[in-house]
Amino acid sequence: MNRFFDIPSDLQHSWAGLIGLHLREALLPVLGGLLLALPLAQLCVRLRWLYPPVLWVTTVLYAIPSLAFFVVLIDYTGQTETTVMIPLTVYTLVVLVPAIVDGVRSVPQETLAAATAMGFGPVRRYVQVQLPIAVPAIIAGLRVATVSSISLVSVGTLIGNQGALGNLLHDATIYNRPELAWNAVLTMAVLAILADALLVGLRVLLTPWMPSGTAGRADLRVRKEAVAP
C-alpha cells in the first residue's frame, strides 16, 4: 500500500499535486467549452440551417484521435498544458452544443408566449426562461463532457509529461510498477465519479421545481435529432 502512493521523483509532484494538475487540465477546457457553446448554440437555435453543418464539423473534429491532435498542436503551442487543453475544449463542444440546442428547443411554445406577454424582451426571456428550463439537458451534457475530459488528459503523457495523473502510467511502464498504473486508473475514476456527483448536486440546486425522482431521468433522455455523439 505504501508503494501505491510512492510517486517517482521525476514527476516533480506529490499525489495531491498531480490531482490538482489533473483537475486544472481537465476542467478548464470544460469551462471554456461551455463559454463557447452557449453563444454557438444560441446561434444554432436562431438560425436553424446552421445547426446541421455545425454538428458535422464538430463530429469530424471529435473523430480526430486526441494524440494526433496533441502532436499537430505541438508545432504551435509547444509541449505545454495548452496543447492538451485545446483539443479537450473542442471535444467538449461536440457534447455541449447539441445538449444546449435541444434543451433550449424543448421549451414549450406556450411558456415562451407567456414570457413575451409578460413583457420579457428576447435577452431577458433567454436568460430567465429558456436557459433555466434547459438546465437539466445542459448539465447532462456537462456530465459526459467532464467525465471524458478527465479520462483524456492522461493521453497527454505521450507528448512528454503533460498528462498529470496519466504521467503515472508512463512511469508504471518504465519502472515496471503496476501499482502506479492502478493508482492512475483508480484516482482518475474516483475524480470522474466525484465530479459527476457534484454536477448532479448542482442540477438539484438549480432546478428546485423538479421532483428529484424524475430529474434523474433527464440524464438518460435521448436526443432524437442529434447527429453527434
Partner: protein, 222 residues
C-alpha cells in the same frame, strides 16, 4: 507548412500506398479492430438494454454502471491491462468495449422505454407473447434511437482504436504513434485524416442502414 500541405504530401507519396505499412493494410486493420470491439460491445449492451427496457426495471442500476464505466480512463485501462496480461489483442479490446458499452446500453434502454404504450398494449391484447411484443413491436419502433446509440459508440471506437498502436499492434494509430517518435508530422496528420475520414464513412453507413432497416411507418411518424 500548414496542415493541408501535410495531408497532400502524405497522400501523394506512393510509398504510403503499398506494403506492410501501406494505407490499405492499416485501414483494413483499423476496420477489423473497430468491428470486433463494436460487435463485442453490442453483444453485451443490446440484449441487456432491450430486456431492462422491456421490463422497465433497473434503469437506475444501469445509469450507475454506465457512469462507472465512463469514469474509467480508456488509455489508463490500456496501459494497466498490458502490464497485467501482456501484449496482444485482449488488452486493446477491454478498454474499447468498456468505452462503447455505456452509450449502447443507455440509449437502447431509453429507446425501448420511450416507445408509445398504446401499440404495445394493443399487441398484448391481441395475444402476442412477451418476446413478440419486444421483437416485433418495441424493437422496430425504437430502432432509430438504438441505431443512434450504436453510431455514437462506433465513432468513439474508430477514433480510440488508434491506441492499439501504442501496444505494438497495427491500425491507423501506427501512423500517429510512429510519426510522433520520428517527428514526422506528415504521417501524424495523414493518420488523423484517415481516422476522421473513416468516422465520416461510419456516419454515412449508419445513415444508410437507417434508411434500409427502419420501417417506413416509423420513419414517417418521426
Amino acid at each position: 507548412m500548414n496542415v493541408l500541405h501535410y495531408v497532400q504530401a502524405f497522400f501523394s507519396d506512393h510509398a504510403h500506398w503499398q506494403g506492410y505499412d501501406g494505407i490499405p493494410t492499416r485501414v483494413g486493420e483499423h476496420i477489423g479492430y473497430t468491428l470486433e470491439a463494436l460487435a463485442l460491445a453490442a453483444l453485451i449492451g443490446l440484449p441487456v438494454g432491450l430486456l431492462t427496457g422491456h421490463f422497465g426495471r433497473g434503469g437506475n442500476t444501469l445509469s450507475l454502471i454506465a457512469t462507472a464505466a465512463r469514469a474509467l480512463p480508456t488509455f489508463g485501462l490500456l496501459v494497466l491491462m498490458t502490464m497485467l496480461i501482456g501484449f496482444g489483442m485482449l488488452p486493446v479490446m477491454i478498454p474499447l468495449v468498456v468505452l462503447a458499452v455505456p452509450p449502447i446500453l443507455v440509449t437502447t434502454y431509453e429507446a425501448v422505454r420511450s416507445v408509445d404504450r398504446s401499440p404495445v398494449d394493443a399487441a398484448r391484447g391481441m395475444g402476442m407473447r412477451e418476446a413478440g411484443v419486444l421483437l416485433r413491436v418495441e424493437l422496430p419502433v425504437a430502432l432509430p434511437l438504438i441505431l443512434g446509440g450504436l453510431r455514437s459508440a462506433a465513432i468513439q471506437i474508430v477514433s480510440t482504436a488508434t491506441i492499439a498502436a501504442y501496444v505494438s499492434l497495427g491500425g491507423l494509430g501506427r501512423y500517429i504513434v510512429d510519426g510522433l517518435y520520428q517527428r514526422d508530422y506528415e504521417k501524424v496528420v495523414g493518420g488523423a485524416t484517415l481516422v476522421a475520414g473513416l468516422a465520416l464513412v461510419t456516419l454515412g453507413l449508419f445513415w444508410a442502414v437507417g434508411r434500409v432497416a427502419v420501417s417506413a411507418g416509423v420513419r414517417r411518424s418521426n
